[in-house]
């Protein structure tokens, strides 16, 4: 059976991850040589969708011997989509955090997180309505 929340479950977890990354960028706004990072959202969602829709993208380990252990390749993790941000005004101390940009991204991500929560809430109330026969 498909997950009740569909893709929103993955979306919420990726949004949470992105929240951490941007919070970390802002925390290191004064650390010399720190490089700001962000998630490649499109690739991340693509990977989440692939693992959701079919398990074909998780290639099974080929067993050619009776004593081989069955297994499958690990799906890509969030770290694989972490990219460095390109600074618009490079700083002398090698820090690439631009607080205003990070703040805007943080706010955007917070709004999207809330939107995802709304979708999930809608789903829950829909199912609750169906169960009660309203």
């Amino acid at each position: 059976m498909d997950s009740i929340f569909g893709i929103h479950e993955q979306a919420l977890s990726i949004r949470k991850e992105r929240q951490n990354i941007i919070a970390n960028n802002l925390a290191n706004a004064d650390t010399p040589n720190f490089k700001a990072r962000d998630l490649d959202w499109r690739k991340e969602m693509q990977a989440a969708q692939d693992t959701l829709s079919q398990s074909i993208n998780r290639p099974d380990l080929k067993t050619t011997h009776s004593r081989h252990i069955a297994g499958f390749a690990e799906s890509a993790s969030t770290q694989d989509y972490l990219k460095y941000r390109q600074p618009t005004q490079p700083a002398l101390d090698g820090n690439t955090v631009e607080t205003h940009i990070e703040k805007a991204q943080f706010m955007e991500n917070a709004m999207q997180y809330q939107a995802t929560l709304e979708f999930m809430n809608g789903r829950i109330s829909g199912i609750r309505g169906a169960l009660k026969g309203e």
Binding site: N20, N28, A29, D30, F34, Y113, M120
Partner: protein
């Protein structure tokens, strides 16, 4: 790994900025601490920030910490003032190498960074509360 790493990250940054504000306060308080020899003179203290690596992944994702508090290498200010009670045999007194303008700019930067982290903390708190109340 913590359940809510964002809160830890912001808290670590606020702590680091507090240490920075403390060193600034110390520098400003000692701006007029004169001495009769170079060795005993107060030197401007500066914190060195460092990114904390995440224990699990080894990525720089764990916030920030104060790696060290170093003393400024800027030259001390020697002043010829033979009437000063702390003057040495040659009539010189030594003033700390604290640059007040620099310290003020540092203070503004630290307080702005502190505010930013409070904002992050507040937003994160709201999001987490809404997540806990999901489906109610």
């Amino acid at each position: 790994m913590s359940m809510f790493p964002t809160l830890d990250i912001s808290a670590s940054a606020m702590h680091a900025q507090t240490v920075r504000l403390n060193t600034i306060a110390s520098n400003m308080a000692n701006v007029d601490s004169v001495s009769s020899n170079a060795a005993d003179t107060y030197r401007s203290k500066q914190p060195v920030f460092k990114t904390v690596l995440d224990e699990e992944s080894g990525l720089p994702m764990g916030g920030v910490r104060v790696d060290d508090v170093v003393e400024s290498k800027a030259p001390l200010k020697m002043e010829y003032n033979p009437n000063h009670p702390s003057a040495n045999e040659d009539g010189y007194i030594f003033r700390p190498n604290v640059n007040v303008v620099e310290e003020m700019a540092n203070m503004l930067s630290a307080s702005r960074s502190y505010e930013t982290n409070i904002e992050v903390l507040n937003t994160s708190k709201q999001l987490l509360l809404r997540t806990i109340q999901l489906g109610k």
